[in-house]
């Protein structure tokens, strides 16, 4: 074999290994994490960068973290260009220095091999608390980045192997759930160190020049793969707009995201120029997050085997004007962007491309709208912080497949594990009264949306902060259907106060909950795909038997006439209704 030619077998072996290293880092994080948002919701990403700061391999357990690290790593490496040493561990959470949003701490460890900086081992995850107002990092009333809590610029958490005690203490002293945050910091650093060890072993085995050649080859291969995928989308310009209900400060004005998708042969541009200017509330999306939501949407439309690395991102350009809601400047608050703005960006891209490749696009998923709550649990004597993932809604349908039930926001694409109700009651001062699918919560269609849930809990302690964040509570922002499929009903929340009062919950507001209050959430299912009157009759019957679809909806939306007790279908009446005669 010629020496200047790369051995394709080594490419395969090394590429697989790089990928499995990021998965091993993720497994370590899953097992060692402390807070539920890490271990149960899996809100983290692990990645390997090369010395040119290119994303080589990653495992984003939550897809909205797909592009959450490139700008952060660049910011760290540039800040410490002359001051990076073996054994250093860097930390960053500042959204105005490359991070996506403040609760996600980025940890980056330079990998030195024989004294030379060769790679970076990177981990990043959502912390149980970041100080500031709000709950578990979510602060609907935040007016600037300082309201949102601790702001950590690129900094050394470890210096040449030695912990920076002052910084460590500074961080954990400024958060409410110190014992959780401290554990999760260990977990992030531990996983980054594991990555460092494994990368080093890989390089020692094959030699640095071979590994670097392979990385080059791998990124080029991924680029080629993505270009081929984009080529399957017809050239053209496709437009769409979606909205967020409000920004938490100005309640009567929705926030609009506009996208223009331009497909030109093997490249694609996502231009958000028509979107709103940056807003006073916490839905501003730093560029890293806007890019993540864009890649998320795109990666669901192409072959799932395309690797999520820098090569695959080369054919994609993103235009997001400075000072807009999709690329804000300091000091705009931004905590809610990973969910609220991310969902809206992804929906806009899907909707735009549904015009040209409808069979590949999914109808909209149920948006997130539920609280994060925090306070003291008198039964355990400990503080707690909880994001109410039990409310997860349904996924959108696509040609050939119903949406997935209780799958959660599209920002996670099914990677968000639903909490265990018993562990939830064990840790938090809550008693769950109901947690099950809501009848008719999904959009009707030839392919039905996935089911949303009804989730109701009673509060067993006083003085609990309840930061209700989300959107999709309006008909205009509820999940859309595609190709004749119906949208799903909006998210809804009801507070049942101990004194008997009842009030509708408001997206992006904070309440104080007291003992005896109950909170009831009705989460949206997914949108439907295709005309519901073309859904197979036996599927409609099964849905009615199962209580997922009401007999009224079967008649009205699906055109199926059946006996309410025996579920026997009146075939003649059904045929008449379905043919529209």
């Amino acid at each position: 074999m010629q020496t200047d030619r790369i051995d394709p077998i080594l490419v395969s072996v090394i590429a697989n290994r790089l990928d499995s290293i990021t998965k091993e880092m993720g497994q370590t994080m899953l097992r060692t994490s402390r807070s539920p948002i890490f271990s149960e919701a899996r809100d983290f990403v692990t990645a390997i960068y090369d010395r040119q700061l290119r994303l080589v391999a990653q495992t984003a357990y939550i897809p909205i973290l797909l592009a959450a690290t490139p700008w952060a790593v660049r910011s760290i490496a540039e800040t410490y260009a002359d001051d990076t040493h073996e054994g250093d561990v860097f930390i960053l959470n500042d959204p105005y220095r490359g991070n996506n949003h403040p609760p996600d701490f980025t940890i980056a460890k330079p990998v030195y091999i024989d004294g030379e900086l060769r790679f970076w081992s990177v981990t990043k995850g959502h912390q149980a608390d970041t100080g500031g107002g709000g709950a578990v990092g979510y602060h609907p009333e935040a007016r600037d980045v300082w309201d949102e809590g601790l702001r950590i610029p690129p900094a050394k958490l470890y210096e040449q192997g030695k912990v920076n005690r002052g910084l460590w203490e500074m961080i954990v002293s400024n958060v409410r759930l110190r014992f959780l945050v401290e554990g999760d910091l260990h977990c992030l650093v531990g996983a980054a160190s594991l990555g460092e060890r494994n990368i080093t072993a890989l390089v020692k085995k094959h030699g640095i020049s071979v590994v670097e050649q392979v990385v080059e080859h791998l990124l080029t291969a991924s680029e080629r793969h993505m270009r081929e995928e984009i080529r399957t989308i017809p050239n053209g310009t496709y437009l769409a707009a979606r909205q967020i209900d409000n920004d938490g400060i100005v309640y009567d004005r929705p926030v609009t995201i506009r996208v223009k998708v331009e497909v030109q042969d093997e490249s694609v541009m996502f231009d958000y120029s028509g979107s709103d200017d940056q807003v006073p509330g916490y839905v501003n999306s730093p560029f890293a997050n806007t890019a993540s939501a864009t890649y998320l949407a795109l990666f669901t439309l192409v072959n799932p085997d395309v690797p999520h690395n820098e090569g695959a991102m080369r054919p994609v350009s993103i235009v997001a004007p400075s000072r807009s809601v999709v690329n804000p400047v300091e000091p705009a608050p931004s905590t809610a962007c990973t969910v609220l703005t991310g969902e809206t960006i992804t929906e806009a891209v899907w909707l735009a491309l549904s015009e040209v490749i409808p069979e590949r696009v999914q109808a909209a998923w149920g948006r997130w709208c539920a609280p994060a709550t925090t306070g003291m649990n008198p039964r355990t004597g400990r503080p707690f912080g909880e994001i109410h993932f039990l409310s997860k809604g349904g996924g959108g349908a696509t040609a050939g497949f119903d949406g997935w039930d209780h799958i959660g926001t599209a920002m996670c694409l099914g990677g968000l594990r639903s909490p265990d109700p018993e562990l939830h009651e064990l840790v938090n001062p809550y008693f769950i009264e109901q947690f099950e699918y809501g009848q008719d919560s999904a959009g009707a269609g030839q392919w039905r949306g996935g089911m949303g849930v009804t989730y109701r809990w009673r509060v067993e302690a006083d003085n609990i902060a309840c930061a209700n964040f989300g959107s999709g509570t309006q008909p205009a922002t509820a999940p859309f259907g595609l190709r004749g499929g119906q949208g799903a009903p909006p998210n809804r929340q009801i507070f049942h106060h101990a004194d008997g009062r009842t009030e509708e919950g408001m997206a992006n507001s904070t309440n104080i909950l007291s003992k005896g209050d109950a909170v009831e959430l009705f989460s949206s299912g997914g949108g439907g795909f295709g005309d519901p009157k073309r859904r197979a009759i036996e599927k409609v019957v099964q849905d009615v038997r199962d209580g997922l679809v009401s007999i009224e909806s079967a008649l009205r939306d699906y055109g199926v006439v059946m006996d309410p007790t025996t579920f026997v279908v009146d075939e003649a009446a059904t045929a008449r209704l379905r043919s529209g005669r």
Binding site: P8, Q27, S39, F401, W404, P421, E422, G547
Partner: protein, 709 residues
């Protein structure tokens, strides 16, 4: 003469391993009869009796123990042919079972659906009742709801019912009463209560396990009844034991009640066999690997204890019972090599399976597989496997490798075939990394015990990849699981959730709970005929840092006095550090579960050693052929395994062909045959003695004389 028999019903063949009281072992195989597996079992027994020149009844009368592994339950779940099942659960929580915690594995793939539900929602009955986090009744059981459900169950001709309520492991009264009502009304129905099957925190995991138990209970009961009556009628008077997923065995009576324990028992014999063969060389730390046609199973054994897990899954449904932690990846002889859209060569996880199989089987396969690559490289003979019963199509294999892999990648056919071989080896090595390094173990301190038809062709290279110093290839490697069954002990695992802040644990309190479980365990084993002196009890706690969501299982040594609790906490910190790279000695701990493993020790078969001969392996030489290593052609000696005698040794490259497998000794490796006719292989540059000593055998002298120097 008395016999013990291990019977492993596989997808294609039913394997029998017969040992007699003189220590002789013999292997038999019969085709599996999937519709009526008991028929195949009886056929096999008849065949063995005939070959021993005995009447069936005489032979069966001489069998003291049959250990039987069945895949009845596994197949019932995978094919959706379990019992028609109903599920009763707490009102307001109807869908926790079918939500499956709202996960979708392939996040970017929108074109697939979730696995079919174990119980359709229409047959999930919400029952008004509620117990709270402290075990107190908040809503008492509405028996009218249960009676309504019973009516539906009757009307719908449902065969099995699972009951799992919230917090029932703290207060099982509602479940027990519900079970009683159902059993009284419908005595024929199979009832499975979560407080009996898995009294442990985590709702979905408990529900799913309880429902799986109900779903597979009736088909397993029917099968066992049929098998037992046929064995009885034919004169069997010994003990029948059933293989469990945890590597232990159980009486048929208890297996009927805890049918879910058999769900992942298929590969569970492997690690047990690994312990047995490792013992013959006094090795305590080994990794067992089993490479067949479609998959590669690996299990780590530390200090003679196979790793266990409670994170099992079958058909997309969670099984939270303790089971052997067998890591499976899609790598086997039938794994297909392909080039992805980025132009990178991949092997597996898709497999050509047995039908059509690799291209060289000549049954219509067109995609090049690992077996095809092995043939092109000369590792396999075109005379084929099974002693020449099935010739292999060399030209077909070469054509497929050339057209589909070599040409697109601009490689020679040999380079392409070697690439396939290396990549599948790297994939398997990564799986071993998963069971060792990821869990805090260094593979260089382990020996590899190899099983499966394809295993002995790849073992050397996998070991080299991870610097594993020693490879053991048992003679019975093709009926490895059946061998493992014969050496398994009776085993019952118990769990009881016991959530406490560590500092709030009252020693008497926890001792009381532990003794209750222990008493129950002893009584259960006694009912299976195990005398007290053969019973071993091991207790562990699941402990975690407060707020963590995963626990570490920590061994405890009764009596549970305060000092033992302190020692247990220290053990937890050490284990956490070893497993995850950090410990927080100042952080508060909490206890989640109490576990008890109860063993009833069985008598193990004894292998009869043969004397080491000082003979030249040339007597077993059957020819030579060209084989490639790192692109270089070698004339490689090919030996007949049947004539390879104890004490013979050879240096690689070499091939040893046997009826069901081919052993590849790569260049730089040395292979010896031990006194039990098992092969031991190692890198030639290190003396065997030094390797064995380095592996830290408990009694180095115990192995003396079993191997040539």
């Amino acid at each position: 003469m008395k016999y013990k028999i291990g019977i492993d019903v596989g997808g294609t063949f039913t394997d029998f391993l017969v040992t007699d009281s003189q220590g002789t072992t013999q292997v038999y195989k019969t085709p599996t009869t999937p519709q009526q597996p008991a028929v195949g079992v009886l056929q096999g027994l008849r065949k063995i009796a005939a070959s021993l020149d005995r009447e069936l009844s005489d032979f069966l009368g001489r069998i003291s123990v049959i250990v039987h592994g069945t895949t009845i339950t596994t197949n019932a779940v995978l094919t959706g042919e379990g019992a028609k099942t109903a599920f009763l659960t707490t009102h307001g929580f109807r869908d926790v079972l079918n939500m499956r915690r709202g996960l979708r594995d392939r996040q970017y793939d929108s074109k697939y659906g979730p696995p079919p539900p174990l119980v359709p929602r229409a047959h999930i009955y919400p029952i008004s009742e509620r117990v709270n986090v402290e075990g107190a009744v908040v809503t008492s059981l509405h028996e009218a709801d249960v009676r309504d459900a019973i009516e539906h169950i009757r009307e719908n001709a449902i065969e099995a019912v699972a009951v799992s309520y919230l917090w029932s492991f703290l207060n099982p009264a509602h479940e027990r009463r519900t079970g009683q009502l159902i059993q009284d009304a419908l005595p024929e129905v199979y009832v499975s209560l979560s407080s009996e099957v898995l009294p442990q925190i985590r709702v979905y995991e408990r529900h799913s396990t309880t429902v799986l138990n109900a779903t597979v209970g009736p088909p397993l009961s029917r099968y066992l009844t049929q098998l037992e009556s046929q064995l009885d009628e034919s004169g069997f008077a010994g003990v029948l034991l059933i293989m469990q997923s945890n590597g232990g065995v159980m009486s048929p009576r208890l297996t009927r009640r805890f049918a879910a324990n058999t769900l992942l028992s298929g590969p569970a014999g492997g690690p047990m066999a690994g312990v047995f063969y490792a013992d013959t060389h006094a090795l305590r730390d080994v990794i067992t690997v089993d490479m067949g046609g479609t998959s590669f199973d690996a299990c780590l054994i530390h200090d003679r204890q196979p790793a266990t897990t409670t994170e099992g899954e079958i058909g997309g449904h969670r099984l939270a019972l303790p089971l052997l932690d067998i890591h499976t990846v899609g790598a086997g002889g039938g794994s297909i090599a392909w080039i992805d859209a980025g132009g990178i060569l991949q092997v597996g996880p898709k497999s050509a399976g047995a039908e059509p199989g690799p291209v060289c089987y000549g049954r219509g396969g067109v995609e090049p597989t690992v077996t095809d690559a092995n043939l092109v490289l000369g590792y396999l003979s075109s005379d084929g496997l099974l002693g020449g019963e099935m010739p292999l199509d060399y030209h077909g294999a070469q054509r497929a490798v050339t057209n589909k892999i070599a040409e697109p990648l601009d490689l020679s056919p040999i380079e392409a075939a070697e690439g396939i071989y290396r990549i599948v080896n790297a994939n398997m090595a990564a799986a071993l990394q998963g069971v060792s390094v990821e869990r805090g173990y260094d593979p260089r301190e382990f020996a590899l015990v190899v099983a499966g038809g394809a295993g002995p062709l790849h073992a050397g290279m996998i070991a080299r990849e991870l610097d594993i110093p020693l490879i053991v290839i048992p003679q019975e490697s093709s009926v490895f699981c059946a061998a493992g069954m014969l050496i398994s002990d009776l085993q019952h695992d118990y769990v009881q959730t016991f959530t406490r802040d560590w500092d709030a644990i009252v020693p008497d309190d926890i001792s009381g709970t532990l003794s209750e479980i222990e008493e129950h365990a002893r009584a259960t084993l006694a009912s299976e005929g195990i005398p007290a002196e053969k019973i071993r009890i091991r207790a562990t706690f699941d402990v975690r840092y407060v707020g963590q969501f995963h626990e570490v299982e920590v061994p405890v040594q009764p009596p549970l006095v305060a000092s033992e609790l302190e020692a247990t906490a220290a053990r937890f910190h050490r284990l956490h550090e070893a497993l995850y790279g950090y410990a927080m000695p100042e952080a508060p701990l909490e206890m989640i579960n109490l576990r008890v493993k109860a063993l009833g020790l069985t008598e193990k078969p004894r292998l009869t050693p043969s004397p080491l001969v000082d003979a030249d392996p040339a007597v077993a030489l059957k020819g030579e052929r060209q084989a490639y290593f790192s692109g270089t052609p070698y004339q490689v000696a090919v030996y007949n395994g049947d004539q390879f005698d104890c004490g013979m040794a050879l240096a690689g490259p070499a091939l040893i062909e046997q009826a069901n497998t081919t052993v590849l000794v790569p260049p730089g490796y040395r292979l010896v045959c031990d006194i039990y006719r098992n092969y031991v292989m190692h890198a030639a540059e290190r003396p065997l003695d030094e390797i064995l000593a380095g592996l830290g055998r408990r009694t180095p002298e115990g192995a003396r004389g079993k191997l040539p120097p």
